[in-house]
């Protein structure tokens, strides 16, 4: 087990170095003088130019620049925003809870609906229910979610007037951040109606962000269940007279869930990419919108830092899933 853990950790290191190389090169690959490019129409004074050149280290040889960058990264310093002048790391952690809250809600919704749907479809394989469910899953999987978001806004915000169009909570409420999660903070604030407002703001973005993971989980659960249900030990369990529900939910589902858990782990990348679009459309103040806005504001230190943080997050989650997989399934450890 220790060997397995170490070998996985060892592959993490070169990938991490590669990821820092990519985010490091990003600013340096911009055509022309990066400082002039970033300043854009704002322009930049001569002193500020020199100051920035020193801040980015552009006056040094490239390997020294990378070395400094790497040292900074390892100490949690990702540079400063060009626009707000605040450290990129601070901005990231200020906005991250919003994205995390949205992602947790989305993945919870996807798991709660997707796994039962996949199981029921597998049990009723070939029947109408299975066909309808799997067709819907394929539609969900093929969905351009930015359009899906607009459609939901038209129907639920425009025609029915049930949900607000943007933000995390109505401007009528104001209370301090405690956890950064609006659902919890609004409850803690004790203001009447605040929680309801937070929920109504959260519903549409959650549905939009959950759509593709839901489809993937339902499809994966179904095929994993079908594979497991044809195994010999299931036949044995049935033959010895166990009730069908016990065979399905205890014997089959437990083993079928192993590949499903892996897939859920791999969906983190999908969620973060989805957050870019979802947050932009619903003006959700999370890291997805932050990165998109920064690209348009040419705030490249932010883009660079965000890029690195997201890649590292995806890598850490994948590593965790990989290790967990080894814990659940001893066969993987040996190979």
């Amino acid at each position: 087990m220790l060997n397995f853990l170490l070998s996985r950790l060892l592959t993490f290191v070169p990938t991490f170095i590669g990821v820092t190389l990519i985010s490091f090169s990003f600013i340096r690959l911009l055509p022309g003088d990066p400082i002039i490019v970033m300043a854009g129409e704002r322009g930049v004074s001569a002193e500020r130019y020199a100051e920035l050149q020193q801040q980015f280290g552009f006056d040094q040889p490239i390997y020294l620049q990378y070395w400094d960058y790497m040292l900074g990264v390892l100490q949690g310093d990702l540079g400063q925003s060009f626009v707000t002048k605040r450290p990129v790391v601070d901005e990231f952690f200020a906005l991250f809870p919003a994205t995390l809250e949205l992602s947790i809600c989305a993945i919870t919704l996807a798991v709660l609906l997707g796994i039962p749907a996949g199981v029921v479809a597998a049990i009723n394989r070939g029947k109408l229910f299975d066909r309808v469910l799997m067709s819907s899953a394929l539609v969900g999987y093929s969905m351009p979610i930015f359009w899906w978001a607009l459609l939901l806004i038209i129907v639920f915000s425009g025609w029915l007037g049930w949900t607000p169009v943007s933000g995390r909570i109505s401007l009528l409420y104001y209370f301090d951040d405690v956890t950064g999660f609006m659902l919890i903070d609004s409850l803690l604030s004790g203001e009447k109606g605040a929680f309801g407002s937070a929920v109504s703001h959260l519903v549409l973005p959650t549905i939009v962000l959950a759509t593709i993971p839901l489809a993937v989980i339902a499809r994966q659960t179904r095929s994993a269940m079908l594979e497991v249900l044809s195994e010999d030990y299931i036949r044995t369990a049935r033959a010895k007279g166990l009730p069908p529900s016990r065979v399905t939910y205890v014997h089959a589902l437990r083993n079928a869930l192993i590949p499903v858990i892996t897939v859920i782990g791999l969906l983190v990348g999908t969620l973060l990419a989805g957050a870019l679009l979802t947050e932009t459309i619903f003006s959700w103040p999370g890291i997805g919108k932050w990165i998109i806005d920064s690209i348009f504001r040419r705030d490249y230190p932010v883009v660079q830092g965000g890029l690195l943080m997201i890649a590292v997050m995806v890598m850490v989650v994948n590593l965790t899933v990989d290790v967990l997989y080894g814990v659940i399934n001893p066969k993987v450890r040996k190979s």
Binding site: F26, P31, L138, W147, G158, L272, I295, Y300
Partner: protein, 296 residues
């Protein structure tokens, strides 16, 4: 002798493929829709009733024909600049197909070559190649494409290049994995004994036997490419207005979302139908080409 066996076997394989593909009704429907869209894309200028960029100033935001105020002149209505929505959608099919084809061609050619190389290369080179692919795969594809377009400058061509780069590691991994499982089979060894050079082994002996999963991946990345280019266009980092690219059309339509549902609904529907048709086909291809999954 060898000639005859080949000519007997070939139609058999195709027939077998068609037999399994046909069993999946969704796949057949997907194929017909795909064909129809392909015809539309090929003959777009002939099929479109109007020039997709012509502005009819008297007909701004005119609703589709079945709604009050609609007319047969603009079947699906017009956008905020008075351009015919149907003509723009038809023209947009072209862009989506070109994007899909070009991305798959670049990504698969580069990916397969690197994958074969990794499969045949000495261990150290293989490790380096695969670590580089891991790095690319650590980024969500849309984000990496977005950042690349930020470097290259927003345009349809740059979006296509970025997405091709982001999608090719999947081909590398697939190709390498199949090469690894094929490499030590007897027929490869015998080809080596018969004096086949490395290049011949890679492309002529081994590659044809690795194609099945790659073809399925090609279908998958065709639809991913269309979705991602539309997403980039929607974010303003893909095709630029007035190009009638579906994602870009959606971006332009956003501000009229509550006033004119049709300018938002139809471009997205076009994306969904195209992607769905390709994914349906992809499922059928997988069933037909992957013997392990045939019975499930």
């Amino acid at each position: 002798m060898a000639e005859t066996t080949v000519s007997v076997e070939r139609p058999g394989r195709l027939k077998e493929f068609w037999f399994y593909f046909r069993e999946n009704r969704g796949a057949v429907i997907g194929m017909w829709v795909f064909m129809a869209l392909l015809v539309i894309a090929l003959f777009a200028p002939l099929l479109a009733p109007h020039d997709p960029t012509q502005q009819f100033r008297q007909h701004l935001l005119q609703p589709p024909v079945w709604q009050e105020g609609g007319s047969w002149e603009f079947v699906l209505g017009t956008d905020a600049l008075g351009r015919d929505l149907l003509s723009r959608l038809i023209q947009g099919a072209r862009f989506s197909f070109i994007v899909g084809v070009v991305v798959v061609m670049i990504a698969s050619t580069v990916g397969i070559t690197i994958g074969l190389l990794a499969g045949f290369a000495p261990k150290w080179l293989d490790t380096i190649i695969m670590r580089i692919m891991d790095v690319i795969l650590a980024f969500p594809s849309l984000l990496l494409a977005l950042v690349m377009v930020a470097i290259l400058g927003p345009s349809l061509l740059n979006a296509v290049i970025a997405i091709a780069i982001v999608l090719q590691p999947h081909y590398v991994r697939l190709t390498r994995a199949s090469v690894m499982s094929e490499r030590h089979k007897d027929y490869v060894t015998s080809a080596g004994v018969a004096g086949a050079g490395t290049l011949r082994m890679m492309f002529i002996t081994v590659l044809p036997n690795c194609l099945a999963p790659i073809i399925v991946q090609a279908a998958l990345s065709f639809s991913t490419a269309i979705l991602d280019v539309a997403a980039l266009g929607f974010l303003g980092m893909g095709a630029q207005p007035p190009t009638p690219e579906w994602g870009t059309m959606l971006a332009e339509a956003r501000e009229f979302i509550l006033r004119a549902w049709w300018v938002v609904t139809f471009p997205g529907l076009a994306i969904l139908i195209t992607v769905l048709a390709i994914n349906l086909m992809g499922d059928g291809l997988r069933d037909a080409l992957d013997p392990k999954l045939k019975r499930s």
